[in-house]
Symmetry: C2
DNA sequence: CTGAAAGCGCTTACAG
DNA sequence: CTGAAAGCGCTTACAG
């Protein structure tokens, strides 16, 4: 039982060195209780001495199953997804699953490429945030086909686009509805919204919630203060600049994601205006920096860390029980109206 | 050549359906130029019709080499690492490499577990940010042994702790030196520093740069305004509160990472003070929110996106040319003294 | 409790 | 240009 002098030690080397068969070594690795204590100890010693660690590749091939979970996310540098991803990692790590990462940059081509990779890698399950609203584009079938071709189940996160798989997302429509109502109760009659494009499912959800809220509050819809661009900082920035020039000004503004909120604030700030003096404001998602600095910031809070954790749990459950009915989990976003005073700049 | 009706289509199914051998199918997958055009077209048709995609697991085992790169990062929700990770993903994606992700939470145990996983997964190469300063802990050999046991080369990123592998990091010492000098030139003689712990390599680097700067400027070192906690928000917050109570106040403060800067600003803000009226301030790393809002913020800028891209490039190069000499790449951090005016809160 | 053998889905050196 | 065969490093049903 001298040290094995080889670069890549395999199960055969261990078996030989311990004077047993590969099968027995494999058993101490997988079901040690089946192996006689003395043989087991001997084998374990050889394994330890040689720092042997079995190849996941070989095991996966043999078992016809992999131990890695795939995750496809738009972009990790947006805090919402960063925290989502951390939640995911916490649970996969606890369950000794590896994590294969791919970003799709909200881009259809990259998304397809990512899906193909997950396929080829035979991931055990996939956590999937679709890049775009494929339903709108008439590409839903193509995507569904790709999901069906995967080796494991899929959970679709954050964006519900009608895919046949488990889903988990926030109730953005309701949250928006409540935001509008809160503003209306506060006396606001002209409530602007800066939102993403009509192709985006979430933007539509949020738009509908906004309309719900107006109707419920008896406020007429005014297209001139409904702004739709994309979910990027720069688009929100220029729409805000436009808004500021409007004859008939809104008194309150709702911004539909983090980047939009930032673009909005930047434009306001640059113009020498301040919140809430110029407009009452409610943003979607917290902005960490404001929170850390203790600056009150009205927003809809969505716990994306929790979202990530729950998503993995559902996926693991689905892997264990493939036949149970598909589920849609809806998480509640919470309206956080702090002091109704934003940073005074 | 009817559609194959099976759940998991393999190369044998394709071969059979196309009336050729597995070897030939494999060739059209790997080196199509070796295959006769007509046979190739026939095979390609069958592949497409059946949406066949070869198993990376089987291929990896057969080729004795994997197509995934591992990455071990402290935490993705810190913007510095989030952007680093995006840089990494961009390059791996371009090179059709998959990315196996693990976080270590700046925690030794998780770090070891992550390394073991990378071993077992036989990653082609590893991008590694060590959780802690193992040299200090006398565990360098253990870590080195783990790195040596990996299937591929390693690039150590952001923290140089004396590991035998390629390295890339920022010249923090020089950046700190320059920050101190800039403040001294501006007339400051009492320059405080809020820094991470002595166990942390980077904290030591930064500390040394600070001392260099003082010496060069003929300023005596004053221990009472050198604060060392950890790199967390809360620690910086309480140290700042302490600092504010000091008899002999500093006139300028340097904070040694993002979280520390935030804790510092929060404490300053809460006390009703403002920057730069109370203290001139230089932080390490940008703070996105301040930047977006157009609020001037003196800081040392480190492009972590670039760091990530370069790291992968070096790793890919090392994989291609294993025998070339190990390299240490030092990136320059840049002092950005905007208007020397920070947010007025 | 243990071993020999077949098999997982590929690749590739070899022969033709 | 193509195929048969061996091999990659495991697991597991089967026999003993």
């Amino acid at each position: 039982m001298a040290k094995i002098s080889k670069a890549n030690i395999t199960i055969s080397d261990i078996a030989e060195s311990a004077g047993v068969s590969k099968a027995t070594v494999s058993r101490v690795l997988n079901s040690p209780e089946l192996v006689d204590e003395k043989t087991r100890e001997k084998i374990e010693k050889v394994i330890k001495e040689n720092h042997y660690s079995p190849s996941a590749t070989a095991r996966n091939l043999s078992k016809q199953i992999s131990s890695t979970i795939g995750v496809i996310v738009p972009e990790i540098s947006n805090t919402f997804f960063g925290e989502l991803f951390e939640g995911i990692e916490e649970i996969t790590n606890k369950n000794n699953l590896s994590l294969l990462y791919c970003s799709n940059d909200d881009n259809k081509e990259k998304d397809f490429k990512a899906l193909d990779m997950m396929r080829t890698q035979r991931v055990r399950g996939l956590i999937y945030i679709p890049a775009v609203n494929y339903k709108e584009l008439g590409l839903l079938k193509q995507v569904q086909q790709r999901l069906d071709g995967l080796a494991g189940p899929v959970i679709c996160v954050d964006r519900s686009i009608g895919l046949r798989c488990d889903e988990i997302y926030f109730n953005d429509r309701k949250a928006m509805y409540e935001a509008v109502k809160a503003l209306a109760v506060d006396g606001h009659k002209r409530i602007a919204i800066i939102n993403g494009s009509k192709q985006n499912v979430l933007a539509e959800e949020r738009h509908n919630g906004y309309i719900d809220g107006l109707k419920e509050s008896g406020i007429e819809v005014d297209e001139s203060i409904i702004f739709r661009g994309d979910y990027k900082y720069s688009s929100a920035y220029s729409m805000t600049k436009q808004m500021i020039k409007l004859e008939n000004q809104p008194t309150a503004v709702i911004t539909c994601n983090n980047s939009i909120s930032k673009g909005f604030l930047k434009a306001i700030y640059e113009t020498g205006k301040s919140i809430p003096d110029a407009y009452m404001h409610i943003g979607l998602d917290k902005i960490e920096m404001l929170n850390l600095l203790g600056i009150p910031y009205n927003h809809i809070e969505r716990d994306s860390y929790e979202l990530g954790k729950r998503a993995v749990e559902i996926l693991i459950n689905r892997i264990a029980f493939p036949e149970t009915k598909l589920q849609q989990v809806v998480l509640q976003a919470e309206l956080e109206l702090q002091t109704c005073r934003l940073v005074k700049m």
